[in-house]
């Protein structure tokens, strides 16, 4: 088990000060009616002007190098900022993917032109990304992707379709995982490559897919023989699988895996504090113990990322525990309705609760299902 340690990392005074600074900024925004806190905001609540504002505060691309407009701060500083944004339900969806994973992916694998043309725009909050992994026939089985990139005289020709691409209709780029040669019989992870695709190119067609809440964030993105320049290849040809696995560690380990519905919990406690003192201390204690453990583990993964370790498995632990916690939290609040019936809750709280109930099935699907997380862990335990 020693390889699944989550070493303790202390929140220094500097980090606490940064936390305060972000919190004050958010309070001002809320007081000025710049946004209304909303649930699952990192998926559903996009506001490009808010993203730009965060960019000018220096809170996007925080760990990116200065030469590309970054701030050369630590992954721990970024962690603190994201926690504050998530816990307040701020509208961060527009830049979320670019800041969380695409930027780092480009810095790690991109060529000079890719870096200098895109990274400064990400840090400014002006360039947004979508994820190009899932396809109609490739969900959990990512290695089975059929989107194909073929070498041409001037570059590549991209053909295929990606699905569930959150925010693609607002995004400027997508990092697309595509097949560049067929898989070998022994290793289906061979022959995959990542491409940096400008979504404004001709023959890219983005169609919205309303989800069960009726909102649009999902898209299907069709690449109908899109001509890509030679330098659209991200990283090395044929090394796409290894690259994408690293990208997923960034995607899975963050506090969005357990703070997506924190605004609901916060409002719930503020509303029912007095009843909870009499009949809910135990449930509040349980929730506190869960959140604090998850924060502790996720912060530890941030420090591993900072140290250039590869915490893919630890990320799976955080995601799995975080997803379970969020589902449990909503069930716990539901059970409380035997003390104060749901129809007597204030309207806004009722709406938040119902909204969360509606959205919660997706938390253990997006970013890799529970089954995939458990599979990753089982492999590390030597069971597969």
């Amino acid at each position: 088990m020693s390889k699944f340690n989550f070493p303790f990392v202390k929140e220094t005074n500097e980090l606490s000060n940064l936390r305060k600074e972000v919190r004050e900024f958010i309070t001002t925004c809320i007081n000025n009616d710049e946004f209304t806190p909303s649930p699952d905001a990192w998926v559903f609540s996009a506001d490009p002007s808010f993203s730009k504002k965060l960019g000018s505060k220096g809170w996007l691309g925080m760990s990116f190098p200065k030469e590309y407009g970054g701030h050369q701060r630590t992954a721990l500083e970024r962690y603190v900022v994201t926690e504050e944004l998530l816990s307040s339900g701020a509208p961060v969806a527009a830049h979320w993917i670019a800041d969380r994973q695409s930027g780092s992916q480009i810095l790690r694998y991109g060529n000079e032109k890719q870096k200098s043309s895109i990274i400064p725009r990400i840090t400014a909050g002006k360039c947004f990304f979508a994820i190009g992994m899932s396809e109609p026939d490739s969900g959990s089985d990512l290695a089975s992707v059929k989107t194909k990139a073929t070498k041409t005289k001037n570059g590549w020709k991209l053909e295929g379709r990606k699905i569930w691409s959150t925010g693609a209709h607002l995004a400027h780029y997508m990092i697309v995982l595509a097949r560049t040669s067929s898989a070998s019989e022994k290793n289906r992870h061979e022959g995959l490559s990542q491409f940096l695709v400008d979504l404004s190119l001709p023959n890219v067609k983005i169609t919205g897919i309303p989800d069960m809440t009726g909102q649009r964030h999902f898209n299907e993105t069709l690449f109908d023989n899109v001509e890509l320049s030679d330098d659209s290849l991200l990283g090395e040809e044929g090394k796409g699988w290894k690259q994408v696995v690293g990208e997923l560690a960034l995607e899975r380990s963050g506090p969005e895996r357990f703070l997506s519905h924190f605004t609901l919990l916060d409002s719930f406690i503020n509303e029912f504090r007095n009843s909870l003192i009499h009949s809910g201390t135990k449930i509040v204690g349980k929730l506190i113990s869960e959140i604090q453990t998850l924060r502790r583990m996720s912060f530890s993964v941030a420090s591993m990322l900072q140290n250039d370790e590869s915490p893919e498995t630890q990320a799976a632990f955080v995601k799995e525990l975080g997803n379970k916690f969020e589902k449990m939290m909503i069930e716990t609040l539901r059970e409380f309705s035997n003390i104060v019936p749901l129809h007597e809750w204030p309207n806004q709280l009722q709406n938040l609760f119902e909204d969360a109930t509606l959205r919660i099935p997706s938390n253990s699907l997006r970013g890799g299902t529970t089954e995939i997380m458990k599979g990753i862990i089982a492999r590390q335990l030597g069971l597969r």
């Binding site: 204690g285 349980k286 924060r295 599979g375 335990l381």
Partner: protein, 342 residues
């Protein structure tokens, strides 16, 4: 000090590997020379007094730093109260009492306890391993002051011997028993917290062992023509064990690093909640994947799961600490939750 501790951990592992096996665990009596030999080796290496002040002949390594040692001791399923002795001796030493040699066990559970003329009478409950030692630390509140009471010649009427769970536990009635030492315990030391932390570290050591046993068993045992570990249903169950265990270990390392202070008493509560909850899951899953063999006395799994059942109820179960956390937050401040958590 870290280097010193690492050497101690290594030596301890060697000693335990040499002495501890499953048949030893089935004969925990003071007449068993193998038990005596094991204790002698442990004592020769100074382990019982690892957190005792130097002036009392100890290593004076802070109690929270030695939690990895507690983990190792229980990972090996050591059928001796070394964990209890280490904590008892630490409390004694901090209360300026010179800890005795040999095994020291403890209890905070008492009924009708009376102290008169330096003698004690009443019932002492759920005392671990009383069959192996005459030394007992009683932590008891007298006139609003917590006292450490050391008995070095325990003697009385055994009113119940519990051995459903792995470790022997006794309820004993004592009358006019001589007190060897009695002193107030520092305010900064809360035995209930320390006990909860000790039991959590013990549980985590045992749970690591159970996970290893389960992985090994499922990799070797074949049914339907393949190893159990090749079945996805089994893989997912074992993954769940690992997930819960990792959460407990994370909570433990917070305490190992920070110790226990005013500011982080929540961390101790969180640790006991996580470890107790993980224990419940891990007991159920490990027995499920082991099948009938895990339910036998001969196979060592049950030694560890029985101990988990015992320890998760000591020093407050999950509900106790959840209430503690919830009350503390709801009653004692008006901050909103996020401010409180950060």
């Amino acid at each position: 000090m870290i280097e010193e501790l690492e050497i101690i951990l290594e030596t301890t592992s060697k000693i335990l590997q040499k002495h501890v096996n499953h048949s030893l665990r089935q004969n925990i009596v003071s007449e068993n020379t193998d038990i005596l030999n094991l204790w002698n080796d442990i004592e020769k290496n100074g382990l019982p007094k690892i957190s005792v002040k130097e002036k009392f002949g100890g290593y004076e390594i802070p109690f929270f730093s030695i939690l990895p040692l507690i983990k190792i001791v229980n990972n090996h399923g050591t059928p001796l109260p070394l964990s209890e002795t280490i904590l008892s001796n630490y409390i004694l030493s901090e209360s300026d009492i010179n800890p005795p040699n040999g095994i020291v066990t403890f209890t905070t559970n008492t009924k009708n306890l009376q102290i008169k003329n330096n003698m004690i009478s009443g019932e002492l409950l759920s005392v671990p391993y009383l069959n192996l030692t005459k030394n007992l630390l009683i932590v008891h509140e007298l006139n609003n002051v917590k006292k450490a009471i050391l008995i070095d010649e325990i003697n009385g009427e055994i009113i119940n011997k519990k051995n459903f769970l792995a470790e022997p536990r006794y309820n004993i009635k004592v009358e006019n028993l001589n007190i060897a030492e009695i002193r107030p315990i520092k305010n900064s030391i809360d035995f209930n917290f320390l006990g909860a932390i000790l039991r959590s570290a013990q549980m985590i050591g045992a749970m690591e062992k159970i996970l290893d046993l389960s992985i090994n068993y499922c990799s070797e045992r074949k049914q339907f023509g393949r190893a159990l570990s090749k079945f996805q249903a089994i893989q997912h169950q074992i993954s769940e064990m690992a997930v819960e265990l990792s959460a407990s270990s994370a909570a433990l390392s917070t305490i190992t690093e920070l110790g226990l202070g005013e500011k982080n008493s929540n961390d101790a509560a969180i640790l006991k909640i996580r470890a107790g909850f993980a224990a419940g899951k891990i007991i159920a899953i490990s027995h499920q994947v082991h099948g009938a063999i895990g339910f036998t006395k001969e196979y060592e799994l049950s030694y560890f799961t029985k101990n988990l059942n015992s320890w998760r109820n000591d020093f407050g179960n999950e509900s106790f600490w959840e209430e503690f956390l919830g009350k503390k937050f709801l009653e004692k401040n008006n901050k909103n939750l996020w401010e409180y958590l950060t």
